[in-house]
Amino acid sequence: MSETDSNVEDLYLESYAFTTAAAIVGSVDRKIFVLLRDGRNLFGVLRTFDQFANLVLQDTIERIYLGSEGSDDLSKPERFGEAYRGVFMVRGENVVMMGEVDIDHEDEHLEVLSQIPFEVAEKELKSIHKQKMKFEKAKTKKLLSKGLINDFAKSDLY
């Protein structure tokens, strides 16, 4: 009797976090969405996390959203590509945001989009990123000539 009691206590202590990262404890074993600083969209089941918000995702899918063909506007998605990625361990520093996904409605927004092969989407996204880098570089130069600083980091493509 006392033995089972102590086991329950062990479980409780193990799942209890003492920092603000504990806010995501309610999302454990649920499907979540994670946006990384490099612009990657990950969808997977959150299995565990720690005080740095390092995340472990299982059955992860990486999805790329693209605008209409020939457009580099990512804010109005019309096409998407996705790839299965398996078990993911994300270092907390690289997370921009995350949130729970409603699994009853998660595919609804995809119905109005057309699916393209992941490799094609990846290639297109890369060229969009390349363009953005070029644009930001020019912007930095221009601002600098006016004595201003362009707040842009190469690794921030989200």
Binding site: E3, D38, N54, V87, N94
Partner: protein, 137 residues
């Protein structure tokens, strides 16, 4: 079960590491620590644009350069099993400790006695010096 615990249970398995600069490293995880510093063996390094490849026998990665890791599918189950085994072992140890309460008290006594010995040694030493002083006088 913390992420780093899962990482340690993925030792000797093939993993993929992507660094913040976009480089990827495929190799066997030989070791890791609590800062997520890693050592990999039999590594294939891929450049950020995915065009250049490099074969490296062994590599060390400083944890703070890592963006993410991809682990083999079965790692989660293995970590769970390992955790269960550890829990059982811990429970066994706790039970044993519970039975040996008396011994622990003895241990405390042992320490105290050892302190007593030290004190008596010091006393002897002082006496000896006292005697020596006497002799010189």
């Amino acid at each position: 079960m913390l992420p780093l615990y899962i990482l340690t249970s993925a030792k000797n398995q093939p993993i993929l590491v992507e660094l913040k600069n976009g480089e990827t490293l495929n190799g066997l995880l030989t070791n890791c620590d609590s800062w997520m510093n890693l050592t990999l063996s039999e590594v294939i390094q891929t450049s950020p644009n995915g065009e250049d490849f490099l074969k490296i026998p062994e590599i060390y990665i400083r944890g703070n350069h890592i963006k993410y890791l991809r682990l083999p599918e079965q790692t989660m189950d293995q970590a769970k099993e390992q955790n269960l085994i550890n829990m059982e072992q811990r429970n066994k140890n706790q039970r044993r400790r519970g039975n040996n309460n008396g011994n622990y008290n003895n241990n405390g006594n042992f320490n105290r006695r050892r302190n007593d010995n030290n004190q008596s040694n010091r006393r002897n030493f002082n006496n000896r010096r006292f005697n020596n002083n006497n002799n010189t006088e």
